[in-house]
Symmetry: D2
């Protein structure tokens, strides 16, 4: 996921969050708002996975190649743990 693709996704997510505000304003039925919340959460998670993927393929890989990957691996695992909700 390049910078342009990431920004496009984030802009779409921003629009979805504004859509949620509109739904609340218009007293949309709870379950429909919830469905939209689930969809925004999934879009954000996809961005997170994209960033993670990119990070491993570049930063972590390069650090290991240069012989000092341990700290990066430590940091990576902490990020994975946070992202997977624990």
């Amino acid at each position: 996921m390049n910078k342009k693709a990431l920004q496009d996704r984030l802009r779409r997510i921003e629009g979805q969050v504004r859509g949620l505000q509109r739904m609340i304003d218009e007293d949309t039925y709870c379950i429909d708002v919830l469905t939209q919340v689930t969809s925004v959460t999934a879009a954000l998670r996809a961005v997170g996975m994209g960033l993670l993927d990119d990070h491993v393929r570049h930063c972590v890989k390069e650090s290991i190649e240069q012989g000092n990957g341990d700290e990066k691996v430590e940091e990576l695992m902490a990020a994975v743990a946070r992202l997977s909700g624990k």
Copy 2:
């Protein structure tokens, strides 16, 4: 969570998503962007739980009291399943 509180939270989330775009623009270190993604996801999840809570306390409760709760319960459980990521 009343309408005003929900809107405040959603506006804050919208700001966080714009913050993410800024972080990408400024080539912020991946792991820091990821930490922010995790924090926005948690904020959205809290909104989802708030909506769910409200829905059960009002819509579902009233439907059951009026003797026609079965459809609402069905719909609720589907929303819980989606929200908890499956």
Copy 3:
């Protein structure tokens, strides 16, 4: 999900956990063990959703019908929050 179906699922999960121990014993490739961990987690989550569903359809519904559902709803929402990993 009735008692018999629940027990069947739990026995299958118990077998899967023993299978994991065997995989570790036999030095199975990490990623294959992880795939199996993911599958056991999904099976457990399905049991959790089944229990939740049953609980709402009976306990919560009856309490509301008898006019004292508030405590049950409170308790339910706390369980949903725990189950969805927060």
Copy 4:
């Protein structure tokens, strides 16, 4: 997490799953069973994170050092995505 520690955790998880069967047999209150399901899920997730951590620190690191890490990274990211429930 070494082999011995992993096996200890898995044996404990197996015992917890048998405990769940007992709870169902004894008609334990749904919410208490659910709390136990949540706790077993968390224990399994910890095993998954331990395996993942170990995998990155050894297999993935070594593959990258030997100049052929790309396939391992691909495989890793797929496992992370599955584990984090998507």
